[in-house]
Symmetry: C2
């Protein structure tokens, strides 16, 4: 496994690799969710590259950039075990040097949901992913379904900017009680950790109603809200039942279109998100 924080060295490492290349962009603090992306990339590509970079431009002013977990030692051990070929660990100054001034904006689909709660977040995400595409030149790039809107934004950017990269979105990996794996779960104290399972329970309740034939967006949203309301530690930021591509809230789900149900909920000071596509 070759590890570098230097862009030119990364380009050399990459140029030495023949065959197909899969990229898994991460912010580190790796967990089983990341591992599942890396295994999938390894199964589909000749070489796998991983970036480990806590990207400041996707954090808002009041957010958790400072306390976001950083543990490069254990991360590299895990990447080595998973058979990763190349790891890119750039410094902030390397990615955003003095005078940096270029940003990629994806418009319509970044307006609702996370885009509304976290202004500027997707501008930071789209920009760093484009930079990583240009650094690694992957054939495929792997993202988790847990960040559903992020996956939609990146898919749109790839299409619009003609990036020759195939996006692959992989299923959310969950703890035993249904909580979606996330580096931010480390913020939760034991009481909060227990309460956090309410996100999954809310989604599961809406899924059950959907499977029984419910097609009204308002009803699905109300079902999720009711479950969240039963947990005193949970403060919902949004509860959504939206079109999977446009991310617009649906009134009645059309046959064949499906629906993305998603949540952002604060448990104590920790903001968690989760979703399902039905």
């Amino acid at each position: 496994m070759q590890v570098t924080g230097d862009l030119l060295e990364l380009r050399k490492i990459r140029a030495s690799m023949a065959g197909t290349f899969g990229l898994v962009p991460t912010m580190g603090a790796l967990h089983e969710g990341h591992a599942s992306l890396i295994r999938r990339a390894g199964a589909e590509c000749d070489h796998v590259g991983v970036s480990v970079f806590v990207n400041p431009s996707q954090f808002g002013p009041g957010e958790d950039l400072g306390k976001y977990p950083r543990r490069i030692g254990p991360d590299l051990e895990m990447l080595e075990r998973l058979g990763v070929a190349a790891v890119f660990t750039p410094a902030v100054q390397g990615m955003y040097p003095d005078g940096y001034q270029t940003w990629i904006a994806v418009e319509d689909i970044t307006i609702p949901l996370e885009g509304k709660c976290r202004p500027g977040h997707f501008r930071g995400v789209a920009t760093i992913v484009a930079k990583l595409f240009n650094a690694f030149r992957p054939d495929r790039a792997y993202f988790g379904q847990k960040d559903a809107q992020q996956a939609a934004v990146i898919r749109r950017m790839i299409l619009d900017l003609n990036f020759p990269v195939e996006p692959v979105v992989c299923p959310t990996v969950r703890e035993a009680d249904g909580l979606a794996m996330s580096s931010r779960n480390a913020y939760l104290d034991p009481r909060e950790r227990k309460a956090a399972a309410v996100l999954y329970r809310a989604l599961a309740a809406a899924r059950e109603r959907y499977q029984k034939g419910e097609r009204e967006g308002n009803t699905l949203r109300a079902v999720m809200r009711a479950v969240l309301d039963s947990e005193p530690l949970a403060r919902p930021e949004y509860v959504s039942a939206a079109h999977p591509d446009t991310l617009r809230e649906v009134r009645t789900i059309e046959t064949g279109a499906g629906v993305l149900i998603s949540l952002a909920v604060k448990i104590g000071e920790t903001r968690l998100i989760d979703n399902m596509i039905l």
Copy 2:
């Protein structure tokens, strides 16, 4: 020479070419200025690709998108003669399909000069150039010094977004009386065509003063204005003496920094630009 308007076909053509690849992005209506870029690319690269696309997103509402000269027949003959390997002639709908919503903004250096006169222009330029980079995957890309700010914007975008492309900026090609070659010169009637040489005369007058030791921005700008004022058909939009990298107006030119003197002038209804780096 292989010509296609289809992105997937272009990717196939490109994938069949070994060695280095040079891209010359154009809006067609090709002239000797374009030819000089293509010859330079041919001298430095194993294969040369040219795009011919009148990019609507870089034209403002009141601008000349509708009347911009289009003559693909003569353009292709010229490209064939110049030994170009691949020509990309996409349709507008192909580059900006329904639902298109991704834009690249370069910030500080797009604020003055052309950016001030043509809001949104450089967003369109940066975005289409990024799309063409992703479509052609060139090793080098060739731009004319005539569009000095455009060259600076693209250089900045390449650096900021880690595009693995080397930008090459080539000297402005001029008519016998000094008028910079431009597809827009075709708009000029004979009287306007004669008057249009005033841009070059203004720049040349400032250059002469600079060569005699003048280092005050205000003086250089005044010298150019005085020459432009002598031509009744000329209506200046801006007259600038700026730092070549930041494009900020200079008070006193620092030793070793050089200066970009530039002009935008309306001759009748035709807007012309020109510049020199001193």
